[in-house]
Amino acid sequence: MPAKAPALQNSIGHPFTDYPFLDAFDEMFAAPGHPRPHYSRLYTRLLAQSPEELWRSKQQADVSFLNQGITFTVYGREEGTERIFPHDLLPRVISGAEWEIIERGLKQRVHALNLFLCDVYNERRILKDGIIPGELVYTCSQFRRHMRGVKIPRDIYVSICGTDLIRTPDGNFVVLEDNLRVPSGVSYMLTGRKVMKEIFPMLFHECGVRPIEHYGQVLLSTLRSLTPDGRSNPRVVLLTPGIYNSAYFEHAYLARQMGIELVEGRDLLVHDNIVYMRTTSGLQRVDVIYRRVDDDYLDPLTFRHDSALGAAGVLNAYRAGNVVLANAVGTGVADDKALYAYVPAIIRYYLGEDPVLNNVETLLMTREKERKHVCDNIHRYVVKAVGESGGYGMLIGPHSTRDQQEAFRGRILADPRNYIAQPTLALSTAPCFTDTGRIEPRHVDLRPYVLYGADEISVVPGGLTRVALRKGSLVVNSSQGGGSKDTWVLEK
């Protein structure tokens, strides 16, 4: 039942003046002037604030981000390669009831994907039973044949997962993408929260927001639970590509939250299939590696020979069971954009349940009928290259030129396995405080983080709400004008 909104429709100059409604679900408003119940406190609070006050808060938040060094690196730009992570002042609020569904859906999904990975690298029942075409798996660039028959501790392949959800116009959350390799962004969730608590302490308190600050602890317990048998008091380290990586801030931040060593490839050394790190007291054995380096760069002996980011021999130590990598090698086969279309079937196959969270309708370009339909109607679809991420290699049909459409049509026909198409979705909108000093709707998505340990699966209540800060834009990636919002999951 919508809460009764204060009748301030007519007051001039309040921050929601002319708040436009797009053809999308709005997170805050059920109808003009009627906020949804879980947004009512925020709404009331915002009505009482002048644009100047909001502006001051915004600047205070910016300074806090800069001084904490919460920045990310943009590739391919000479100046200003290090920028503060763009963020919006207003939190995105999710009710307790909605969160319950999201949490249940995510746990179910990651559980099924882990069973799938174990199967696909061992017995391959799902392929033999014809649920998924074997060709789809074997042609996936992320399929790692080195992992065939390798025993993974407790069969946990994906222990850290960041799933992208969007809310469709009917108000339901659906899964847009699974990130099962090295999902990032969680540090922005945690630091954004810290800043918001400084800026809106009372509001935060009144709303009854569920805490997320224990993420580091849960992550550490998750990683420890994967320790190889017989190793008491394991040493867990975080492997980073180094300070020039766009997510380095996050690597350092997480290592610090967990109180573990942040290592680079050059700090590691493999001898007799045991991984050591170089310390001032000599070499020390490493048991669990939370690696934030992609498969390709992990071990120059096995993967890319030109990689200086990994450690030579680490894959053999891993296969010998002397060290654990989280996430496992080869998990990318399960977040391939074409395989994505089969995830509901994967859930039904392994768990015998219907998916709690649905997929976005996805057309595979390997299927002739679907390919023809998309090529004829490309202006209506979003076309994505399966191997790309970060919003690159993507065509948004309705916002594209004829030339771009023609180019993508050519690419699809040349390499159908590499493309999928999805209907253009109106991502839900949430109110944002814009440069103009007004509050306007912008499109958002949601990336919650799932931690899958030997003892439990947990989802910290919250996540990274990414927002397309450019008016009308549907691209939420930080590399392309996206920013973030603090995500408040309420107790009730």
């Binding site: 001084n67 060094g69 801030f249 610090r256 050059r266 001898h271 170089r278 001032t280 000599g282």
Partner: protein
């Protein structure tokens, strides 16, 4: 589970050491500039050229600067962001090293250093630099003092702390030696103002006056800056701190190769502890200073070989 023994990555130790060295270098340059800026403004007996040379030489610059340039141009040269030996360059390097080990230092330290970096780099700071260089230098020095204060009170005084101390004091010892050497090798026509300037470069004027209440005698200045054991900006004090940092590091790492370092620092320490100024002056100040600098360099290399870039075979054979 109880607290675990913490081992420090070799790379981290190296970065902490360099972070601290670069910061000390910038701080030293700022102090030298601040005091010489003052004396360059004054008319003097000695030629402008020799003063000029003294500054560039003591900061280890072989610059293209001509002594006909104004004091301002020297200062702006020192502030060039692209110049590695400039204040901005050193702060940039200190921050780069700190960012490599962000999870090892306290967040307060990182925030302070990061803020200092942004402050001195901000366009406003550069504009201010042109018109009011002394203000810029004092803002900068307050920033480094704040950083040291925060360091003192926000991190565990364990191994990381000792590597930070090591970097800071080895750089300081070397910096003061270079400064003394330059001041006395180009000292023709130097007057009281110059000796005062030298002491001010080491923030030592007040402390000096408390010890030597008489007139300014160059030999006293040298004795103080070289051999005083209690004032923080002297060579002897710095080497004592280097010694305590190194013994603490040897103790926590149980390194089998630390003996070599212990011998080296022991020699250096006693050569300062038992030295007499008359003897030093008789044998030649320049040679004595060169020898200390050489010993610092050798110590630096030994630390690198024992704790940072050791041969793995030597460790695996255990």
């Amino acid at each position: 589970m109880g607290p675990r023994e913490i081992d420090m990555l070799s790379r981290v130790a190296d970065s902490l050491y360099w972070m601290s060295r670069y910061l000390e270098r910038a701080d030293h340059s700022a102090r030298v500039l601040e005091s010489n800026y003052n004396s360059l403004l004054n008319p003097a007996k000695e030629s402008r050229e020799s003063r000029w040379n003294r500054i560039t030489q003591s900061l280890g610059l072989d610059s293209d600067l001509s002594h006909n340039d104004t004091p301002w141009s020297l200062l702006s040269f020192i502030a060039q962001p692209g110049n590695r030996s400039s204040i901005l360059g050193s702060i940039g390097s200190a921050r780069e090293n700190a960012s490599q080990v962000r999870e090892q230092i306290s967040s307060e330290m990182w925030e302070r250093l990061n803020r200092l970096y942004h402050e001195v780099n901000a366009t406003s700071a550069r504009a201010e630099f042109g018109s009011e260089p002394l203000r810029f230098l004092s803002v900068f020095r307050e920033g480094t003092y704040a950083f040291h204060g925060v360091t003192e009170s926000t991190i565990t005084q364990g191994e990381a702390w000792h590597f930070i101390q090591l970097g800071r004091y080895i750089e300081r010892a070397d910096g003061i030696c270079a400064l003394l050497d330059a001041s006395f090798s180009v000292s023709d026509g130097a007057d009281d103002l110059d000796w005062t300037g030298l002491l001010t470069s080491c923030s030592a004027l007040d402390a000096f006056r408390k010890v030597y209440t008489t007139n300014l005698v160059p030999e006293h200045v040298i004795e103080f800056l070289l051999l005083n054991a209690e004032f923080p900006h002297t060579v002897r004090y710095s080497i004592e701190r280097v010694d305590s940092a190194l013994s603490a590091i040897a103790e926590v790492t149980f390194s089998r190769h630390a003996g070599r370092i212990t011998r080296m620092i022991g020699k250096l320490r006693s050569s300062l502890a038992y030295a007499q100024i008359q003897e030093i002056m008789m044998r030649g100040l320049h040679a004595y200073l060169m020898q200390i600098r050489e010993q610092c360099r050798a110590l630096h290399n030994a630390v690198h070989e024992v704790y940072v870039d050791y041969r793995t075979e030597s460790v695996l054979e255990t």
